[in-house]
Symmetry: C2
């Protein structure tokens, strides 16, 4: 176990009808709220009305910025920052999924900074504060509702870049599983893939003696594997959504990776895919992760055997453990397919002639590597793309 410094101050209000407490909770932080959301779906479901009523009942002044798209855009973030400054907003309330929350976080740190918010995503500067952000989660997936991360896409160049900062933890997040009932099957599949991916990135580490977090990650992964397919049969089951929604938060709130160093290579590769092709984040991960596993599994066969037996309950082959290791990868791929995900680049129209451009872009022309479990250079990426063909 490596030394760590862990704190997650986000308050979670979880359960039925909890969105009606928004005003009461927000009034602890704010007089002027910027309501930030995507398109019309929260209006169709009535969530928009309930939330604005709750805010106004609490005597809060509400401003609005809608239009967040998947892979949230820097240009809208800049618009939000402008509103925050002009209106002296003291709480940004993100109502939506990871894209809306990530956009709100960018607005929050940007409004508190004299320079250009993109500096935080290029590493040129680090946030020193933020206008508080709160969330009402509608899509269990990204874990952004209780994480210190945000991913923004700069349309100028299709650059999708992450920023992590203690100032990006939301002050509170409201999680009502019922708000996910209207999600279409494809978004359920993408979201639960993303949740699994967050745990897989943490699980594959070179740090030894991390057994508590191994056990916690295995338990949480088994919970997603058990419940995600049930949502395809019954997308309005409270108990099932509650499991998936809470696991999605726990998967990414940094508790499960205390003392270990995660990989995150697959996420970085996927950011290139979705930055260049605008495919959903979960869709990219379902393709990259199994290929990445096939490429790296010999680096620590024992860990892949552990993944196969303790996550997938694969039979242990004591004479040929390598076969057990591969069995875990095959079961993960089968699970993604069962969820309706495509697991090959060719299935989403990405062909071999683009591999080199993607590998070059991800590695800045083979000048940097991705991942920690195995450091991936351009050649490694080319092999992973071939394995994902």
């Amino acid at each position: 176990m490596v030394n760590f410094d862990y704190q997650n101050p986000t308050r979670i209000i979880f359960g039925k009808d909890t969105e009606n407490e928004t005003g009461r909770l927000a009034s602890g932080y704010a007089e002027k709220v910027l309501l930030h959301y995507g398109g019309g779906s929260i209006k169709k479901t009535g969530l928009y009305d309930r939330v604005t009523a709750s805010l106004k009942d609490a005597g809060l002044e509400v401003f609005e910025l809608s239009g967040v798209k998947p892979n949230p855009r820097l240009s809208l973030v800049r618009e939000g920052i402008k509103i925050c400054r002009e209106k002296q907003i003291d709480l940004i309330l993100a109502v939506g999924g990871g894209s809306v929350i990530d956009s709100a976080k960018a607005i929050g740190v940007g409004a508190d900074y004299d320079g250009d918010v993109w500096d935080f995503y290029t590493g040129k500067a680090e946030p020193q504060g933020s206008t508080p952000v709160a969330t009402i989660l509608t899509i269990p997936a990204a874990g952004s509702e209780s994480s210190q991360g945000s991913v923004i896409t700069n349309e100028d160049g299709g650059l999708k870049r992450p920023c992590n900062s203690l100032y990006m933890y939301p002050v509170f997040s409201i999680l009502n599983p019922e708000l996910a009932y209207t999600l279409p099957e494809y978004q359920i599949a993408c979201g639960t893939t993303d949740i699994m991916a967050h745990m897989i990135e943490r699980y594959f580490t070179n740090v030894k003696n991390v057994e508590l977090t191994d056990r916690l990650l295995e338990g949480a992964m088994r919970n997603i594997i058990h419940h995600a397919p049930r949502l395809l049969q019954d997308s309005k089951n409270y108990a099932t959504w509650a499991e998936v929604m809470w696991t999605g938060t726990v998967a990414h709130n940094n508790m499960l990776d205390t003392g270990r160093i995660g990989d995150w290579g697959s996420h970085d590769i996927e950011h290139e895919l979705s930055g260049m092709y605008d495919i959903a984040h979960g869709a990219g991960l379902a393709i990259i992760i199994p290929a990445w596993m096939k490429y790296v599994h010999n680096h620590d066969l024992n860990r892949f055997v552990q993944f196969a037996t303790l996550v997938w309950s694969a039979e242990m082959d004591f004479n040929e453990p390598a076969k057990t290791a591969l069995e875990g990868i095959y079961r993960l791929e089968a699970h993604f397919k069962r969820m309706g995900m495509k697991t090959r680049l060719s299935e989403v129209g990405i062909t071999a002639d683009t591999y080199e451009a993607m590998a070059d872009k991800a590695t800045d022309g083979d000048t940097k590597t991705l991942g920690n479990f195995v450091k991936l250079d351009k050649a490694a990426l080319m092999e992973i793309f071939s394995l994902a063909e």
Copy 2:
């Protein structure tokens, strides 16, 4: 899953040599620190010198109150409150195990209150604030380093009572597994029993559909079962202590019981035992929990079968699941014995003639019940004591 409101703001600084960061961390909160500890053990190990040096290097003024005993006393708490007021202490630094930390928490809320601190432990009043408390943990057991609870004993009547409050979360806790190297075997056994007990109390719930936290609790319990016996062989193993110390914190930081309602009957019964006989908390739990399980297991046989199979890897007897349920209880008792704990009242000199007095005291003369999984009245307690004979 039931609705919940979860927040744990305690910052954890975990790892080797982290006690040397005390001054840097404390200076974010304080100019005047009350160092609170037990006896001479932290002086013998040199921890006292390192901590005071770190505090003084950071320019902090240090006051002291030592003498905390197991089952920490109200009289010393009152002394601490007096010092805090006279010296205008702005941070109480507990260096020790759960008793020292619980005592510090009581001083913290008491210093911030005009009335008598015991009011918080009788339920007469609720804390509305606290002088900040920080901790350096030396005994993995109580989980108080990241919990909202404190248990204090009023010598006047041998009353041992808990108080829970959001104001009791420490602002930061320093966890260095090396600080536990000097613990004697008996304290290792008591501490790991207490950690198991915290998870068992959470595990046995009547709330349905709590599968994420079931899986997390099972994983964390397996981790203690795996590592605790190793400490008896090698009490200076960093990796093993790191597992036990971090699991001890996670077991009681309220993350693992989100959405469920724990039992806590065994803890309440044990408080009577250790309040009346001054036996160690873990020692009392090792006796009460197996007996409690034997008494209640038919209330939800499925859950006990789940405990046996997923925590203890007991073979499932599909034809006679009740046998599998009992097997889990027997394995827990065998584990406690292997750790060197006594598991019967008679072994610690508590005889049948005192059962009625204990049962009366715990239930206020059969006017209240203990526990949630099964409500225990005086008659139930008498049966549990018989099963523990």
